[in-house]
């Protein structure tokens, strides 16, 4: 049974939600519901795709910095520093409008096969978010790779295990295991970065709430609904990572 003060707070919270539902203006919901679902779907798939691709890029970046020769480690370090040192909004606009401003100078681009993709906005959003995630995770993976006990790697090498197998069987799994608690938080941070894609005309759920505001002049209700949706998604991400952590053994020898 919940402690009495928690019950009181829960009652207050439910009362607040009920007041919001009854006295604020929600008449726009039925009309914009399909658009909201479309925006929600776009937010989620952009999040999943950029996290997966970003991790795929982060692993070599971290490995290069932890164990690579200087000509691989230095560019990786520069990349991570630049990504972490500049705002994501700037990176997004640089890719979309910066590259866009080059198109008129190279007319042959419009005839190429890639043009239908280069024309749209979502590839730039995916690229910017992927590079951003890779930059931050590359730094985390570097620490994770360095944190795996050297003794294990040396023992495997002494047993004659080929380098790639050591990476695949010992180094990488343990590094990911070390990084897993942080990765959940980083995924939530990536979720919080997704609304920025609305500034380059990608219709995610934040863009839909902006559209509702422009059409109906209602300011707060769409934003409150949006905050609720993001909290729900963040909660799901945290639960998913907790489940994942329970599946993966935590204690390292």
């Amino acid at each position: 049974m919940l402690a009495p003060h928690r019950l009181a707070m829960l009652a207050v919270a439910l009362g607040f939600v009920a007041w919001c539902a009854l006295s604020l203006r929600w008449e726009w919901l039925p009309e914009y519901f399909p658009l909201l679902l479309e925006g929600l779907w776009r937010t989620i798939w952009i999040l999943v795709v950029t996290v997966v691709l970003g991790m795929a890029l982060a692993i070599p970046l971290g490995l290069a910095q932890a164990a690579g020769p200087w000509y691989l480690a230095a560019p990786a370090r520069v990349f991570c520093t630049v990504i972490r040192g500049t705002p994501l909004l700037l990176q997004l606009w640089l890719l979309y409008y910066g590259l866009g401003s080059l198109f008129p100078q190279f007319p042959w681009i419009r005839q190429s096969e890639l043009w239908p993709i280069l024309r749209q906005a979502w590839p730039y959003a995916v690229l910017a978010l992927t590079l951003s995630f890779a930059g931050y995770e590359g730094e985390i993976m570097r620490g994770a790779f360095k944190g795996v006990p050297r003794g294990q790697l040396e023992a495997a090498k002494a047993m004659g295990m080929p380098r790639l197998t050591i990476l695949r069987r010992i180094w990488l799994p343990q590094a990911i295991q070390r990084a897993l608690p942080t990765l959940g938080g980083e995924t939530v941070l990536q979720l919080k970065a997704t609304p920025l894609v609305a500034t380059i005309t990608v219709i995610d759920i934040y863009a839909v709430s902006s559209r509702v505001r422009q059409d109906t002049f209602i300011v707060y209700e769409p934003l409150l609904l949006l905050a609720l949706v993001y909290m729900a998604i963040a909660g799901l991400i945290v639960l998913a990572f907790r489940w994942l952590e329970r599946r993966v053994p935590q204690r390292v020898a």
Binding site: R6, M9, T86, P87, L88, L90, S101, K192, Y220
Partner: protein
């Protein structure tokens, strides 16, 4: 030097970035000054909120702890952009409606103040966690000894807890400062004249998008690198005299 610039074809680019008009460099630097001003204000406000939040979470009653937990969870789960929009319009709206209903005139809340308030609230949630972790890292024996000697709580905080936790808090605070400087870019979406907005306006007027976005990126990077170096020195000073940690993994 001039010959090298001409050979690389950078002449027009550097003209655009010149500090004096018709170069836009002066505008960009003004935007940077605005950004740093807001970042400093937000960081300071965040620290203040974080201090009260950390103490509340550690030593407060159950209701206070739950309220603070709600605050930190909401801020850490909702995107900053949404929070900035809600707070930016709601705060000024609420304050003005209150004043009008009480019979006073509306007041003008400057863009700087609104930006600092909004980003400070966001920073406060993260600072609460950082400072809470740092305070918990202070050896409990020291605090117990001070309490046993009858030291009043404020003096205890001032003389023992806060100085000792400073070294533990620094890496987290360095991170928070960098987040503050980068979050100021989000204020461009509400039209506040900081570096990212000035860059977009300069780029939109001159159509030299690449030039200006790269220049703004270089400015942000410079701020990051200088801040990193400063915080590194602060951390070395805070940890002076501590035994060096043994190498990881052995």
């Amino acid at each position: 030097m001039d010959g090298l610039i001409a050979a690389l074809g950078l002449g027009p680019t550097l003209d655009l970035l010149a500090l004096e008009p018709p170069g836009w460099g002066g505008n960009l630097l003004r935007g940077l000054a605005n950004s740093l001003q807001i970042a400093l204000g937000a960081f300071g406000l965040g620290l203040l909120i974080g201090l009260f939040g950390a103490y509340g979470k550690l030593y407060g009653g159950p209701v206070l702890r739950d309220l603070l937990a709600v605050y930190t969870t909401v801020v850490r789960a909702v995107p900053e952009l949404i929070l900035i929009l809600i707070l930016y319009f709601a705060v000024t709206d609420a304050v003005n409606q209150l004043l009008v209903s009480l019979g006073y005139d509306r007041i003008q809340i400057s863009g700087v103040a609104a930006g600092i308030a909004v980003l400070g609230v966001v920073q406060g949630a993260y600072a609460t966690e950082v400072l809470r972790g740092a305070i918990m890292a202070v050896p409990a024996g020291q605090i117990e000894a001070a309490r046993a000697m009858g030291m009043p709580p404020v003096m205890l905080a001032r003389r023992i807890t806060l100085p000792a936790s400073f070294g533990f808090a620094l890496p987290g605070l360095a991170n928070l400062w960098l987040i503050a400087t980068k979050d100021t870019a989000l204020l461009a979406v509400v039209g506040f004249a900081e570096l990212t907005l000035e860059t977009r306006q300069a780029a939109g007027t001159t159509k030299a998008y690449f030039t200006f976005f790269l220049a703004a990126g270089a400015l942000y990077l410079a701020v990051t690198l200088v801040s990193g170096w400063l915080f590194g020195r602060a951390e070395r000073w805070a940890r002076r005299g501590e035994a060096t940690a043994s190498g990881s993994g052995r």
